[in-house]
């Protein structure tokens, strides 16, 4: 069964550094999402992406964040200057269509900011 894959599984970075989290969505999917989960808390929506542009973003997704689909397979989340509070699990998800579709999640990247 096709899967969403995320790399790396764990990223440790110094505060103030830039990080890029990578995702390969399921190949025939058109809608892409990033979520984060701070340890012990619920999963929070960050951004959705369709047709090479952001379709919706949450208040968490400020100017420090950006997303890109640099080629036909990768979907990346960049955090420009990391803060301690960016430490979390970051999940990528994708769906084939909009509407009543389950979202398929990757196993996540654990981001630790020191």
């Amino acid at each position: 069964e096709p899967e969403v894959t995320q790399t790396p599984s764990h990223q440790v970075t110094q505060m103030g550094q830039e990080v890029i989290l990578r995702c390969v969505p399921i190949s025939n999917h058109l809608y892409f999402y990033w979520y984060r989960q701070i340890l012990g808390q619920k999963v929070e929506f960050l951004v959705s992406f369709y047709n090479n542009e952001i379709s919706e973003k949450s208040e968490i997704f400020d100017d420090q964040f950006s997303v890109e689909r640099p080629d036909g397979s990768n979907f990346t989340l960049k955090i420009r200057s990391t803060k301690l509070e960016d430490s979390a699990m970051y999940f990528c998800a994708s769906t084939r269509d909009r509407g009543n579709q389950p979202q398929h999640f990757g196993d996540g990247t654990r981001l630790s900011i020191l």
Partner: protein, 114 residues
């Protein structure tokens, strides 16, 4: 206001017993989805119920939806130790924009004792 609140926060049962988890939400929805998360892993989609459906079954899972009370329940019958995980409900709201963000609840930690 908080969308997608589950209760109980934690549930501990014996193998073979049934487990019931509840979820409440506040805004109108397109659908409600249940996900499972094993410790340190990604979210696995279990079942999606549309706003015009009242009940849905999948194997040992039974989901109900009451849109008048803005609540849903997930029943796992004949539980197994392997069902031990966190269970989250997530709502997808009607959106004019492309894609459909999910709003997650706090989750229920289910422990099934062998």
């Amino acid at each position: 206001s908080q969308q997608g609140e589950e209760d109980p926060q934690a549930l501990s049962i014996q193998e073979g017993e049934n487990a019931t988890m509840n979820c409440s939400y506040k805004t109108s929805i397109n659908n409600l989805q249940w996900y499972r998360q094993n410790s340190g892993r990604g979210l696995v989609h279990l079942i999606l119920i549309r706003s015009n459906e009242r009940e849905k079954h999948s194997g040992r899972l039974r989901v109900t939806l009451d849109t008048s009370k803005k609540s849903s329940s997930l029943l796992i019958t004949a539980s197994r130790a392997a069902d031990t995980a966190s269970y989250f409900c997530a709502t997808a709201s009607p959106q004019e924009t492309s894609g459909s963000r999910l709003t997650f609840g706090e989750g229920t930690q289910l422990t099934v004792n062998p």
